[in-house]
């Protein structure tokens, strides 16, 4: 292969695949069921320019904080609190590339890992230095929920407690470049099989398929007790501990992954866009954001890249960033 061995350097070695286990039974909610629509207000956040971030995942919510970029390097360097009076912004002591976010946390795994607790206060946010070093060049994207962290290696998934040096390693064949998900007390990832991609997780402490639908499954995310992923024509929510499964009709997974906050998932939906044609100037459908709790953005133009936490939904529209907020009495 040209990428790894064709040149004037050496080769690399592959390992044995993991054994597949049948997915557990679950309680399903039929596709297409959604709670009734909810009211909300939308405001532009002109001070935050989404195109300043070189990593397309940002700006995004880390709990009630918007994590964003203003550094010339395009790296994440500040966070704005939505739940504090005046919405104060705190800068990080130094910009950080490709951080993992969890509600109230930023984490940068490396040989010198750094962990930021997003809290109100004065001055720049200083990171802590938890133990648990990772080679930056090992590949894969780390996710964290603030307590546990996980990442995908080429032939394994690794899970560890933040601040602990020991990692648990499970055999896996994750799709390259994908991210694992932490939710419901387990870790899940997109597993590459011969035919399609499946969602795998730890079932009884062993890697096993938890979703193997026809047409494949991808873009798994996790939050609290829940996992969510995209299948053909739907978004699926799954609570590993109870086995409950909820399905929501969706035409999504074409750009950004769903955003999950507990049992609430939000996603980009391009229903009708395709029919409008690639030129997209026939006045046909546009991309909307829909959430499993009924929050739905129906505005002119494309709304994209949802990031949800509690009453807040952060999204992009054109070159600008917007915030949709549910009234306080409707806060979940």
């Amino acid at each position: 292969m040209l990428w790894s061995t064709a040149g004037c350097q050496g080769a690399e070695v592959a390992a044995e695949p993991a054994e597949a286990v049948a997915p557990p039974t679950s309680v399903d909610t039929p596709a297409g069921t959604s709670p009734s629509r909810r009211s909300f207000s939308v405001e532009p956040l002109y001070a935050i320019r989404p195109d300043r971030c070189s990593d397309r995942r940002f700006p995004k919510l880390a709990g009630p904080w918007i994590v964003w970029c203003n550094a010339s390097t395009g790296e994440v360097d500040r966070a704005t609190a939505l739940d504090l009076p005046g919405r104060p912004t705190r800068e990080l002591q130094a910009p950080v590339r490709d951080p993992s976010v969890a509600p109230g946390w930023l984490y940068r795994p490396s040989l010198e890992p750094r962990l930021w607790r997003l809290i109100a206060g004065e001055g720049a946010l200083a990171p802590e230095s938890p133990s648990g070093r990772l080679q930056e060049t090992d590949g894969g994207r780390v996710v964290t929920d603030g307590v546990t962290a996980a990442w995908l290696n080429r032939e394994s998934v690794e899970v560890w407690k933040l601040g602990e040096a020991t990692r648990q390693v499970y055999p896996a064949h994750p799709v390259a470049g994908s991210a694992p998900a932490l939710g419901g007390g387990t870790v899940a990832w997109v597993e590459r099989t011969d035919d399609e991609t499946q969602i795998w997780g730890l079932v009884g402490g062993k890697p096993a398929a938890i979703a193997a639908p026809e047409g494949g499954a991808r873009l798994v995310v996790g939050s609290g007790a829940w996992l969510a992923w995209v299948e053909r024509g739907q978004v699926v929510l799954y609570a590993p501990e109870s086995g409950e499964r909820r399905q929501h009709a969706a035409v999504t997974g074409f750009d950004h992954p769903p955003s999950l906050d507990g049992a609430v998932a939000c996603w980009e939906d391009r229903h009708g866009v395709r029919e409008a044609g690639e030129a997209g100037e026939g006045g046909g459908g546009d991309i909307e954001i829909r959430c499993s709790d009924g929050l739905e953005l129906r505005r002119p133009g494309h709304q994209r890249q949802p990031s949800r936490f509690g009453p807040w939904l952060l999204f992009r529209e054109g070159d600008s960033l917007f915030l949709a907020s549910a009234p306080p009495n409707e806060t979940p």
Partner: protein, 642 residues
């Protein structure tokens, strides 16, 4: 008893032991076998290929212009002609769809076969003697200055032009045996004799062979500059021209990179010397001059202005009785160049596509010369020599290069002092014509390389004094340090201490996307590159890719306005490698906002709309994403109807 010799012997032995221990403990354990073996293979093939060029070249030159072969730079001329013969053979094979491994072996063998006879072996001996004549100091200095080039040649290529064009085409040709071209692959419609050499070297010697061959060619050019300087202007070694080249980042940077500027420069140099070195009664070198000029022109059209100057000089200096030989040289030049424009015409393209021939209605400009340099008004042209010397930058569009200050002395003091001598006037005319033509085009310093060795020979007119040395030394840090920094970044991967994949991931913005393509996308699934220039590393057969200002992607979007991705799907493409921020407004300050929007911004938006409607992003990192084109409605991803 005199103990001094004994002391010296002990000192030498101690130094040798220390050096040996150092090498054993450091280099021997530092260079890993998995890195050394492919490099050794590349070096061996490079040497054989060069020997083949010398062998066949000396045989042919002995027929074409024996006096030139016997001259001071005979081996250089033989190498140039042999290389041209190899390229021409490969061209014929590629036109017939046969430019693959067996053909490469055959071309190599054909070149080596003449070495079984005495005369070509003598040329090889002369070539070796020419190198050893430099002495330990000269060889050591040259090797030290070319060391960054060696590192560059052995490292996985990351240079933009190498991975979108030079090795990307070489790899595709070596794998498929035939040439690419047309609106989908505009790079493949350029003249490609040098790329065919790289295809053969890549196919036989692996990835590092083209770079090592180019490094050897750079060394040959330097040697030629010294020998020709001595021969034309006498009076001792003509070192300063070679040092001016070695002290210029623009030359050093390309030394180990398989570009086509220095091969062009070699043929321009031998063409010029064929004219200068010929005996007044011998018209034969004129034929070789024409052929060499044609090979240079076919290698890169940027040689045209300098060769026009040479043609003028040839007409001016050739007596009427030798004009038939001059005309024969012209015919040979045409024969060397003509296959390439003829191929375009037969393919329904403009003969000089992709430089010309884009449909007028598309409004596409192939290249904006205004992007480069420091302006194109009268004042900027007047200041051009000053700006080239003083304000060039290795990391910006201000010439994108750097040259030594000593050129100022080499191209003024010496030539003006000896202006009455015919070689000075001929060389001066070639250099002036080359520089004038360059000034009319994009002010990219590397485009000056085709005339740089000729200019360096002209510099041998200078007897360097302290002023010249001062200019050389003062400008060395600015020229050498960028090359050394680049080498430092690559040395770990060259020695095998950094994984190739890790090096590429950190060096190439699209590194992660390319790694993903390799592991996740079937090897035979065609990939279209949209605003992306990574053809060399795309494991699958690729289309579009990039040339200046992403013209192929813009042309595709322009010519398929309704369904750019659907039309790609219909032609078998399933995956896309997409660059997300292809244009920087700051590079096109010379365009008004509406012009910029029409030429660039509108195409970004067209692609965004098409991707949102008809593709699924499978991964993205550092500004590059891989998409799958969604199948038509009613067809699942595998292609069967639902």
């Amino acid at each position: 008893m005199n103990v001094r010799p004994l002391r010296e012997l002990v000192g030498v032995l101690a130094a040798a032991a220390l050096a040996g221990a150092f090498l054993y403990l450091d280099v021997a354990q530092t260079l890993r076998a998995e890195a050394a073996l492919p490099a050794a293979r590349g070096a061996a093939i490079t040497l054989l290929w060069a020997a083949g060029a010398l062998g066949s070249g000396s045989l042919l030159l002995n027929k074409l212009a024996p006096a030139t072969l016997a001259g001071a730079a005979g081996p250089l001329h033989a190498f140039a002609l042999g290389t041209g013969a190899q390229a021409s053979l490969l061209t014929a094979l590629a036109f017939g769809g046969r430019a693959q491994f067996p053909a490469f072996i055959a071309v190599l063998a054909l070149g080596l076969a003449p070495l079984l006879t005495a005369q070509p072996r003598l040329i090889v001996k002369r070539a070796v003697a020419g190198v050893t004549r430099l002495g330990p100091a000269g060889l050591g200095l040259g090797a030290a200055l070319l060391l960054p080039g060696a590192v560059e040649a052995l490292a996985p290529p990351t240079d933009t032009d190498i991975i979108y064009q030079h090795l990307a085409l070489a790899r595709r040709i070596a794998e498929e045996g035939s040439l690419l071209g047309g609106f989908d692959h505009p790079d493949g419609s350029r003249p490609l004799p040098v790329h065919l050499l790289y295809a053969a070297l890549w196919g036989l010697g692996g990835e590092c062979a083209p770079g090592l061959w180019h490094l050897g060619l750079a060394a040959a050019v330097l040697l030629g500059v010294i020998r020709l300087g001595e021969a034309r202007f006498g009076g001792g070694p003509a070192w300063m021209g070679a040092l001016a080249l070695l002290g210029s980042w623009t030359f050093l940077r390309e030394a180990g990179l398989p570009y086509n500027n220095l091969p062009t420069a070699l043929w321009v140099l031998t063409a010029v010397d064929a004219l200068l070195g010929r005996n007044a009664d011998d018209p034969a070198p004129l034929r070789w001059m024409g052929l060499s000029a044609g090979l240079g022109m076919a290698a890169k059209y940027t040689a045209a202005p300098a060769l026009a100057g040479l043609a003028l000089a040839a007409l001016y200096t050739t007596p009427r009785r030798h004009w038939p030989a001059l005309a024969a040289g012209g015919v040979l030049a045409l024969l060397a160049v003509a296959p390439w424009p003829a191929r375009n015409v037969l393919s329904g393209l403009h003969p000089f596509f992709p430089y010309a021939g884009w449909p007028d209605s598309s409004g596409l400009t192939f290249m904006y010369a205004e992007k480069y340099g420091l302006g194109r008004d009268g004042a900027a042209f007047g200041m051009l020599p000053w700006n080239l010397l003083m304000r060039a930058d290795t990391e910006s569009w201000a010439f994108f290069g750097r040259i030594s200050l000593v050129w100022a002395a080499l191209l003024t003091v010496g030539p003006l002092h000896r202006w009455r001598e015919r070689p000075v006037r001929v060389l001066g005319l070639v250099v002036a014509a080359g520089f004038g033509g360059w000034a009319l085009g994009p002010h990219w310093m590397r485009y000056l390389l085709p005339i740089a060795p000729v200019a360096a020979v002209l510099g041998a007119t200078l007897r360097p004094g302290i002023g010249a040395w001062l200019l050389l030394l003062v400008s060395l840090p600015a020229n050498l340090l960028p090359a050394w920094r680049s080498a430092e970044d690559r040395i770990a991967v060259v020695l095998g201490h950094e994984k190739r994949a890790d090096f590429l991931k950190r060096s190439l913005p699209a590194g992660e996307a390319l790694a993903w393509l390799e592991t996740e996308v079937p090897a035979g699934a065609p990939v279209a590159q949209l605003f992306s220039w990574y053809g060399y590393y795309v494991p699958q057969p690729w289309r579009l890719g990039s040339v200046e200002d992403h013209v192929p992607t813009r042309f595709w979007l322009w010519s398929h306005p309704e369904s750019p991705l659907g039309d790609l799907y219909d032609e078998g493409v399933r995956y896309l490698l997409v660059g997300e921020s292809p244009f920087l407004r700051s590079q096109y300050r010379f365009l008004s906002d509406p012009e910029y929007e029409r030429e660039f911004g509108s195409y970004e938006r067209r692609l965004d709309r098409a991707l949102l409607a008809r593709a699924t992003r499978l991964m993205g990192a550092r500004g590059f994403s891989v998409y799958r084109i969604d199948p038509p409605t009613g067809v699942d991803a595998s292609g069967s109807s639902e």
